[in-house]
Symmetry: C2
Amino acid sequence: MPENAETEAKEQPRRRQARGERRIAQLLEAAATVFTTTGYTAASTNAIAREAGVSPGTLYQFFPNKEAIAIELGGRLVHEMQTAYGEALAPVDPATPLEEVVGAAVDRFMAFNCDHPVFFALMHGPDIPGRMAEDHDALHTGLVNRLETLMTSLLPEAPQADVTRTAHMVLGLYKAGLELVLAHEGAEREAYIREVKNVLVRYLDPLVGDRLGRSGSTATP
Amino acid sequence: MPENAETEAKEQPRRRQARGERRIAQLLEAAATVFTTTGYTAASTNAIAREAGVSPGTLYQFFPNKEAIAIELGGRLVHEMQTAYGEALAPVDPATPLEEVVGAAVDRFMAFNCDHPVFFALMHGPDIPGRMAEDHDALHTGLVNRLETLMTSLLPEAPQADVTRTAHMVLGLYKAGLELVLAHEGAEREAYIREVKNVLVRYLDPLVGDRLGRSGSTATP
DNA sequence: TGGAAACGCGAGCGATCTCTCGTGTTTTCC
DNA sequence: GGAAAACACGAGAGATCGCTCGCGTTTCCA
């Protein structure tokens, strides 16, 4: 390594031109479609470059390796997602009906995931790279924590282990519903979204339904 | 079927010795552990052979290619599974409480899947080979059909599309729960199994609860 | 306007994986 | 006992994929 006395920083910020930024966006978009259709491991960097209409060498001008593409793509989506669930899972007025809370949250997340199907493909595959799994875990535990605090505020007397377990269940159920939702379109997709809400409401209703002595299971019309 | 498979000329029936059958079982067991830990695509045939303590050449003495290993392994599991759910989802006395029906079915399937974790790995990965996907779809639609007939017998007046959708939901919810169950052990695993039952019972109860005027936990007009 | 740096190309290197082949060993059957 | 068939081995052929390298082109800036 006969390089200069510059501080050996891991990141040597390369000055990008507008052309480069455009190429990066192009490549990430191409990677999203290839990842969505074939999954991460099966997606070849040459295929991503071909999809973007550039040469393999050009791809490696902007990304050091295949993993970095998924990292960058996932990072941007996680950032978007966090702002989305920051609003969707914000502390809620305890008087709000459960249907409303669940319905609003599910609508938000479903809209996001339907707009960015690659997110599900990247987060769900068993073949995600190491650094990617960290991001996934971070997002996952972040969501679980939000759910936990939300539920603890509604059920202060419930054991912590039960709250955690229920939070994991809720997330797992949502993921299962998401898979079915993404597999359908139009009216059928809407119907599945309604079913996901039904599942979550009916699962959570007996837990939070009789807080404060309110025994009603479903709001009687 | 001793030796009369000659109607299909494609297969030249190779006469197996007891040693060969033992090797096949050995190889399938090794493949199960490798598939479970690394997934299908990431599992190398050399790794399977090494796990079984034989050479790569020996492996290909019994299986024409990597896919055939998964096919054979999956086929045997599907066969076992079908006898299992043939009993678990048998036509049920309409008077049986929902909790019992769901509880018994979930217990059976969970026991099977916990005994054979490779089944989940093979059926859930996005990287399954073509022929394998057919088996998966066959089992999947078989299960959905069973659920549909079971539910139609309880809800004769429900639209077919709703029944189908609910059946898919039930299967998806079970899969989501299975993933969580497999990720835990001991008492926590048992707790998750209970939660899966809770989810399914609470989801289905409003649908079948008020058949024949029997008012379940919830009574919706 | 000229030089440096960013951009772009595509053949191909090295690693890895599936599967084959030639050879030697064990089992079966007459 | 001996031939044929099944079993076993492991080096390596053939293919794929991630990634590199040398060189030509475009853009930026003094």
